[in-house]
Amino acid sequence: MACEKYDKLTLLSYVTGDLSVEKRLEVESHVTRCASCSGVIKEAEEERAAFLEAFPVIDAVPARNRRLLRFTPVRTLLAVAAGLVLAVGAGSLLVDRSGDGYRTKGGVALNLFVQDGSGEPVVRGEPVFSPGERIQFTYSCGGERYFILASVDDMGRISVYYPAEGDRSMPLEPGRDLPLPNSILLDEYIGNELYIAVFSARPLRVARVVDKIERAFRERTDLRATVLKIDDAKIRSILLKKREYQR
């Protein structure tokens, strides 16, 4: 207990901002005169800072029980007459852990893992990463087996990861949860980066896809609101956030 007037639970509720306005003002007034209570509050705030530094994000799965999971887009794909129009959403915190996991319409999927210290791929509940980390994608596809993976960041800079060379979509082996060749080393850029996967039934020109991404970004500079439509291609995306500090 901090002092006769306020107990630790009340002081913690003050730190969390859960007290009524009136009570908060009372506690604030009291704390200026009570070393014991101010000590409790200071300790709690230090504890919170240390905790968030150690664990800035929460995992979607227990540390000892990781398994293959998928990010679930916030908004679902909408099929329209001219093809699929993607409503892009940020990667969600809580992922679908039922059975085989999340399946998008049309049978294509893109999944993201980060390699932990031992090189083992793990899923992070929220796609927040740091420069220098390695990410690995897996995919699922059937008929739409030609593939381009590009990214666009907050500044509108576009990078093409697949195909590594050549000017057209690379062919993929149809299947589920197959790894793309090579992991991607995240560069020093701090900010948001939208990874866009374009699955098509026939090869597309990389330059055309890049041009489409560039136009879509110029129209809506908020990455999360980027709308991309390319013929009858199926498009999946993951918004990745890069921050300086990571657990």
Binding site: K8, T10, E47, F51, A63, L93
Partner: protein, 164 residues
């Protein structure tokens, strides 16, 4: 619940959840896992807690219950050995810790005693705070703590808690 609200709740309450779990479990990985479980429960319950001043006590009780269950299920419980005997067996300097004590308490006493012991010896709450969390009257709390002290005099002395 939106992503930003989840983030806010994690930044606001995560350290309180983790603080309870690490005190009871003593292992960082286990505490982190337990924190996640309790946080998920908080996400489900948060909107139902009308008076937000009750959130912190809710966290204390829920984290404690979850960790108690984990401790109860731990396989390293030594059957047939009285807690005080266990203290004597650990004379090699490895130390019988407060965590070990709590673990033994989990297996030998009922919930009311466990709660009184945990909040008194681990969280160092006074009777008023324990009553707020558990609903036990001060007389009941004193009785439960007495039961505990009488059962583990050697352990308490080793931990320097016999004067409490």
């Amino acid at each position: 619940m939106s992503q930003s609200e989840i983030d806010r709740l994690y930044r606001t309450y995560g350290f309180i959840i983790y603080g309870r779990c690490i005190r009871l479990l003593g292992c960082r990985d286990e505490a982190r896992d337990a924190t996640q479980v309790v946080f998920m429960k908080l996400l489900r319950a948060y909107e139902t807690i009308q008076d937000k001043e009750r959130v912190v006590p809710w966290i204390f009780r829920t984290a404690q219950n979850h960790c108690f269950n984990l401790l109860r299920d731990r396989k390293k419980f030594v059957y047939g050995v009285e807690p005080d005997e266990l203290v004597d067996q650990r004379n090699d300097g490895d130390g019988f810790t407060k965590k070990d004590l709590i673990e033994q308490v989990m297996k030998r006493f009922n919930r009311a005693v466990r709660e009184a012991v945990y909040y008194s010896y681990v969280e160092e709450f006074d009777q008023r705070e324990i009553q707020k969390l558990t609903g036990q009257s001060p007389a009941t709390i004193r009785r439960n703590l007495k039961r505990f002290r009488e059962a583990l005099p050697v352990a308490l002395k080793r931990l320097g808690m016999d004067g409490v």
